[in-house]
């Protein structure tokens, strides 16, 4: 597979300077070609890379249709998902690709203002973007009109990257989700229609604008075009890779040096789902296929859990993290996730109450869809998948208070 957004110098070499970026990829196309960009994104079939996988062209069209040249574009590089690193790697190594995409978005939707929303823990990414903005400011000739562009950093938080939370933070300094509608594309930053787009999505746009929608579709497999950044953990060579959509999990496992086949795989991060190893290996990394499996591609997290780790302990730690990460606004999330975390912890540590597992099963179904954002849906979806895949382990912990596997997978924050 041939890298696209990560083509060029090794990401480990740091930020690619503007001169190198231009020499490698050339200028963006002229105004006449750019006028058709939204249509090109539609026919390319580019899906958003922040986790929800919404078609990029359709999103841009909704904002453009509402704005009268006074929209706002927010490049989302919050990346609060603990298992994901791809956005920070991209921002730190290819800042000009992200900024190209941002400028194209500003022009296409008709924006007066742009915001780079970069998680405050991603200091290398922020520094690279600051430097890249300065490089562009010093440039004499420019292809695209320039609008005021600021870098804004929310505090470290799982929910700060949710799109209504991002807009809320820019508007008021509070990085917590708000009740929608109105959604950001209707009424966002400063009350204006706002395009919130993940930074990887913007980088792909910068390439589609240059090379076209047909070129974009040359990569990928089985009806899902393009390439995607993934963060793979659990193998001998973990890290951020660019893969063709449709690459199987087994193929990725070999790429990152996973020793034994067959262990369960956590897909999509703490918002995703666990798939049993027997099912996982032949699964393609394709958002539609994974969704049908009750899991998801999400933001491209693939964590190989191994078959020698305790799924109950791993899940209990993730649930504790999720409960602690609730924005503490909606009752079902505040009380539900805490109850799930406490029950999971008791079961994991051999101190289960009589009805803990029964109650966990109930909560795994009864809390989703009952928050302002999808936090409760994400956490309970992961829990439900764990209860399925590790059914025997949960039962053994609950009823016999023992586990043959003492270790938790390294994916769970302590």
């Amino acid at each position: 597979m041939i890298p696209r957004v990560l083509a060029g110098p090794s990401p480990a070499a740091g930020a690619e300077p503007l001169a190198g970026h231009r020499a490698r990829l050339g200028d963006l196309p002229g105004r006449a070609d750019r006028a058709h960009l939204i249509g090109m994104l539609d026919s390319a079939g580019l899906l958003g890379r922040g986790g929800a996988g919404f078609p990029v062209g359709r999103k841009w069209g909704s904002v453009a249709g509402r704005a009268n040249g006074d929209a706002v574009v927010l490049a989302n590089g919050a990346e609060g998902e603990p298992l994901s690193h791809k956005d920070r790697v991209l921002m730190a190594s290819r800042p000009h690709l992200v900024l190209d995409g941002l400028e194209l978005a500003v022009e296409a939707v008709g924006a007066q203002r742009a915001v780079l929303y970069v998680g405050s823990e991603h200091s290398r990414a922020r520094a690279a973007l600051e430097h890249a903005l300065a490089e562009r400011a010093a440039e004499r000739s420019r292809t695209l009109p320039r609008v005021p562009t600021t870098i804004v950093s929310p505090p470290v938080s799982y929910v700060a990257g949710e799109e209504s939370a991002a807009v809320h933070f820019v508007n008021t300094g509070d990085p917590r989700p708000v009740t929608v509608p109105p959604r950001p594309f209707e009424k966002g930053i400063g009350g204006r229609p706002t395009l919130v787009q993940n930074v990887e999505s913007l980088a792909h746009v910068a390439l589609v604008a240059r090379f076209g929608d047909a070129w974009y579709r040359e990569a990928g497999r089985a009806g899902t075009p393009g390439t995607a950044l993934v963060t793979a953990t659990g193998g001998a060579r973990p890290g951020v890779l660019e893969i063709d959509f449709g690459t199987t999990i087994g193929e990725l496992a070999r790429l990152v040096g996973v020793a034994s086949e067959g262990g369960p795989v956590l897909l999509g991060g703490y918002f995703g789902g666990i798939v049993a190893g027997t099912d996982a290996w032949s699964l393609p990394l394709d958002p539609a296929v994974l969704r049908a499996q009750g899991s998801g591609f999400g933001a491209g997290v693939v964590a190989f859990l191994g078959d020698d780790t305790c799924g109950v302990t791993t899940t209990a730690r993730i649930m504790d993290y999720m409960a602690g990460s609730s924005a503490a606004q909606c009752g079902p999330c505040v009380f539900g996730l805490r109850a799930i975390a406490d029950s999971s912890a008791r079961i994991a540590t051999g101190q289960a109450h009589r009805d803990d597992l029964t109650r966990l099963r109930g909560w795994s179904q009864s809390i989703a869809g009952r928050g302002a954002c999808r936090m409760p849906d994400g956490a309970t979806g992961l829990l439900a998948s764990s209860l399925r895949v590790y059914e025997a382990d949960w039962a053994s912990h609950q009823h016999h208070r023992r586990c043959s596997l003492r270790r938790a997978a390294a994916v769970a924050t302590a």
Partner: protein, 122 residues
Amino acid sequence: MSGPRALDSGIRLEIDRITCDAYGTCAELLPEGIDLDEWGYPVIAAGNVPLHLVDLARRAADSCPVLALRLVRVSIPAAAAVGQAAGDRRPETRPDRMEGTPPWPPRPASRTAKAGPKARRR
């Protein structure tokens, strides 16, 4: 299901989950469609409000102490939807409920007195 078929009002109930503070008034006024979870927060029956319960649903919404409950029109009512399935049109907002939530009950022959609201743990 027995009983006369309930007509679709084309209206659904939505809760502002951030504003909701588990007063439970809605479940007391509309037990047919609103249950409370173990922490006192509402669980709304799946689908649209049956036509014969719309007035009660409106009263429940108006009585919420923090005005967290509202009625949202998502499709044309069944009475006007000649030749069109009332559930065809997508709601404007995402479903405010979980998978497998019991649906609204069929229309009763006559409205009977319900048992009092469940004991709450709040």
